[in-house]
Subunit: 559 residues, 2 copies
């Protein structure tokens, strides 16, 4: 680092540390009458949100939680979860957002590995807890959350076989609404959660107050300032990416700071989501392609007006077919790119004035790209020797990142952390290129690229071709070893309901042959086999599980 004149500093007296409480404190200033909505069960304004957050901090303190403690949560997307997003870090404790879709054994692993000091759990997840309770070594403190308390009917709460510290709402009600959130160093841990790789145990990433503050500034700059997707305090926000999954992409921090009306939908039932979208006038969401597909294909979607809805897609690639279907319903759909390790935003599609005037087909080329690099993110393409490649849209290599909100590594896992950060760059494990306009094209995961006959073929490219064929609902392409070519592609295809009886491997094969003959694609894109299936294996966060697909495909070939 270059040395320059440095101001002698005593930070606490002068510069505000960048803390999550600084975001929260804005939420009572300008439009505190706006609402936080939880399904049809609960609604409140920002004054009440702030009071409840302070009550929660008092309740946690009473239960022995102190700065440095870890508070684990297993809940559906709710106002309660939002309260935890703020109360836990603001009191100096660490929020562990448990991925409820992991296996019970994996959940157990993360609770013990993160050294959770208390667990706040929705009663729907008690069966999981019952199955692992005896093996939890880090804590015996359990608080129950329930939706029943918001309805008139006095249904009994589920009684677990182990003692608990009580129910969330009752604990809050017993506490005062005053709590003076302390100042502490901005590098203090704020959150942790676990990401499931393709091998080994889940790995715990962690983020500091400063990192989440700066991620919020990045979203603010990109969506409010540059209007990549125009967003202001007037928007109505509803996440449809679980809050345990990279803090619902960090948007709840921005929306709370800006006093946006926020809607939390609990479970993801398409009809309920669409009803909430319309009833609460939701304008911005984000989700994985599977959820968007579910909503777009719902019979209700055609009966309602979705033209005020903006949605950012991430997690898996947005296919042209799905994007087209969404746009035909008036939805403003764009793709983004990020990772658990990057908190997550690295890029989102950003159409400039000229591009906004293009026709839909031409816009689709951009909207289905991985986006333009977000403000304050430094993203580069490295070749195999580790040299930086030009932003020419042609040079393909591993994407590496730097920025103000990247995890420093995996908790208690030095080997994986060292593989993540090499030469001062976070290695994404994704292969792609960057254009001179800062648009990003992701070709594939480093490990999913199919190396066939000396060519590098992107499994995503082949999936994209299939996704546009009639009758194809979902597709996954993987490479499998081949004696002659090194590797060859294989495809799994789920037909659309109306095509189950008519679609066949032969039809798809014929279709792809036509594309080869017209010169649209190369012949080495033709999969060795195309298999029709009812379902494609996915990971706990809804991504194609290519490791499992490869295994299944191998078994299928042997069998």
């Amino acid at each position: 680092m270059t040395k320059t004149k440095r101001i002698p500093r005593t930070p606490s007296a002068y510069d505000q540390p960048l803390l999550i409480k600084t975001l929260l404190l804005q939420s009572e200033r300008y439009n505190p009458e706006r609402e936080i909505v939880y399904r049809d069960l609960f609604r409140m304004d920002y004054f009440e949100l702030n009071r409840r957050i302070r009550r929660l901090a008092n309740a946690l303190r009473t239960l022995g939680i102190a700065p440095g403690s870890t508070v684990a949560v297993m809940d559906w997307d709710s106002h309660r979860y939002l309260e935890c997003f703020f109360a836990v870090p603001c009191m100096g404790a660490i929020l562990h957002t448990i991925n409820v879709r992991l296996s019970p054994a994996q959940i157990l692993y993360t609770i013990n590995h993160a050294e959770d000091d208390i667990l706040l759990i929705h009663e729907d997840f008690l069966p999981i807890l019952e199955s692992i309770h005896g093996q939890i070594t880090s804590t015996s403190k359990i608080v129950i959350m329930s939706d029943k308390v918001y309805t008139q009917q006095k249904t009994e709460l589920t009684k677990p076989s182990f003692p608990t510290l009580g129910e969330y709402e009752a604990l809050l009600a017993a506490q005062p609404a005053e709590y003076d959130f302390p100042d502490f160093e901005e590098d203090s841990w704020a959150t942790t959660f676990y990401t499931t790789g393709t091998t080994g145990n889940p790995k715990g990433v962690y983020f500091s107050h400063r990192q989440l503050f700066m991620h919020t500034m990045g979203l603010l700059a990109y969506f409010c300032g540059y209007e990549a997707l125009p967003f202001s305090h007037r928007d109505v926000y509803m996440p449809i990416t679980p809050m345990f999954h990279v803090h619902a992409w960090g948007f709840p921090f921005l929306a709370t700071m800006l006093n946006n009306k926020q809607v939390y939908p609990g479970r993801y039932e398409p009809e309920m989501l669409l009803r909430l979208l319309i009833q609460e006038k939701v304008t911005l969401s984000h989700c994985v392609p599977t959820i968007l597909g579910m909503l777009v294909n719902s019979p209700i979607a055609k009966q309602v007006d979705l033209s005020n809805w903006k949605v950012i897609i991430g997690g898996s690639a947005l296919t042209r077919g799905l994007a087209q279907a969404a746009i035909s319903l008036g939805i403003n759909v764009s793709q983004g790119y990020g990772m658990s390790e990057t908190a997550p935003i690295m890029s989102v599609v950003h159409l400039n004035d000229q591009q906004l005037g293009w026709d839909v087909q031409r816009q689709l080329d951009l909207r289905t790209k991985a986006g333009r690099i977000a403000p304050f993110v430094d993203l580069r393409v490295l070749d195999e020797k580790g040299d930086i490649l030009p932003h020419d849209g042609q040079s393909v290599g591993e994407l590496v990142a730097r920025g103000a909100w990247m995890t420093q590594g995996y908790y208690k896992d030095e080997v994986s952390s060292e593989n993540l950060w090499k030469g001062g760059w976070l290695h994404t494990g994704d292969v792609g290129s960057i254009g001179p306009d800062f648009y990003l094209t992701i070709s594939d995961r480093v490990k999913d690229v199919i190396k066939t006959g000396g060519e590098w073929v992107s499994s995503l490219d082949i999936e994209n071709i299939f996704s546009q064929m009639d009758g194809v609902a979902e597709v996954a392409v993987v490479g499998l070893p081949d004696e002659r070519w090194g590797e060859r592609p294989y495809a799994l295809v789920v037909p659309k309901p109306d095509f189950v009886k008519t679609l066949s491997s032969e039809i798809l094969h014929q279709h792809i042959l036509t594309l080869v003959e017209t010169g649209e694609i190369n012949r080495w894109y033709i999969p060795n086999r195309i298999v029709l299936v009812a379902e494609i294996p996915k990971t706990s966060v809804g991504k194609l599980d290519k490791k499992k697909i490869r295994t299944e495909m191998k078994e299928l070939l042997v069998g």
Copy 2:
């Protein structure tokens, strides 16, 4: 500070330091084709701006400037000044923006006190430099800036009596457009400039990269996110507050980051300003009331459409009369509040949806307030014992501030620095109250409050009353010692041109008596004397110079 779990950090490898270069690097990403305009003399896009900034850094390096050096600038508001805003801090040097309105002796003092290593000076200011050149001890390096190089006519540049290092454009042209701005600690000095108090020498405030980065985030949040005054990358920005004055309120950093079209007007000639406003489609400016008055009273103002122009007023109080005049021309005018020491933004008027629906008269009450506290700023009212008073809109005391962008003190002036920061709060020297809606009312400077017969009377309140009387162009009210009452108010009034012959002290006195009789104001508001004058003494930044006014008034009373 509370201790919490802290991530072991090696910042350079992981978190991006918050540097001004991070703001600059965004400016080439999304809409780099937008223009930077300097009067009718020069225009360029953001690619060219970035290239020129890098050329400037190379030129400065060639001239011996290194990280930690101080680069002083005396220029009109121009693209060159904007280039200095970035090139100097980004290379790790410190930008000293010299207040060209100070006396030559004061300018000399600031150059030597700041230990300037080089001076970039517009030839218009060479006469000042000639008069002090022999006494400058810190440097002999002078670079000349000139507007003549942008015109076809090959007029000779002014030749000073001392040697120079050449002309700005020629120096840039000789340099390569590549420069790799280094990483360094975010607490490094970025800028310094001098503020003139009422006593003693000018005092040097200074700001770090982190502070200016965070001030930019504050503006971004307030104007783009909360839309206090709606602002986005599509706005066209033209400062009418000198760039030497608190970095033109920090807006050039935001506008550059967001790729806004920017217009720099050089000198403040009303007709030229109005022509630029219309011709370049300017949507956002900021200025002091005097400039707004000048524009509003220009005969051209009525011939053009100013309804897309938003303007933030600061520096002195925006009177109802002036606000009314601006609004009647369609101008969206609002007041803000800040200080040199606070970089400067602390509050700006922010009308919520309901208030935007109010009629003009009712809106004026808010628009002429000092604004609502800006995001990330913590502003409080302290009583004389130093205790925090409630935000009830009633409790009046000294305003004190904390935040992410407050100066740490005055350079090489420990006593003043200690008076500025007491008990962890920056003492503004202003008296006021804060409402429960975070609206701020400034009653007066601590030292300008008139203490009469046990009452505290705000000199600003009395000025406001006069400003609304027919024929009054400008007014200043000060308190002078009085044996019986402690202090009594005295008023200086400048009549409007049309009223010079008709307006008299008696008419004004009669007018204020009527207001007392109808119970609108208290009788102790009546000044002991009302004196009509041609001009009111102002400070170098256009504020009423109450110290000088008090002296003159005393002389007047004796004489």
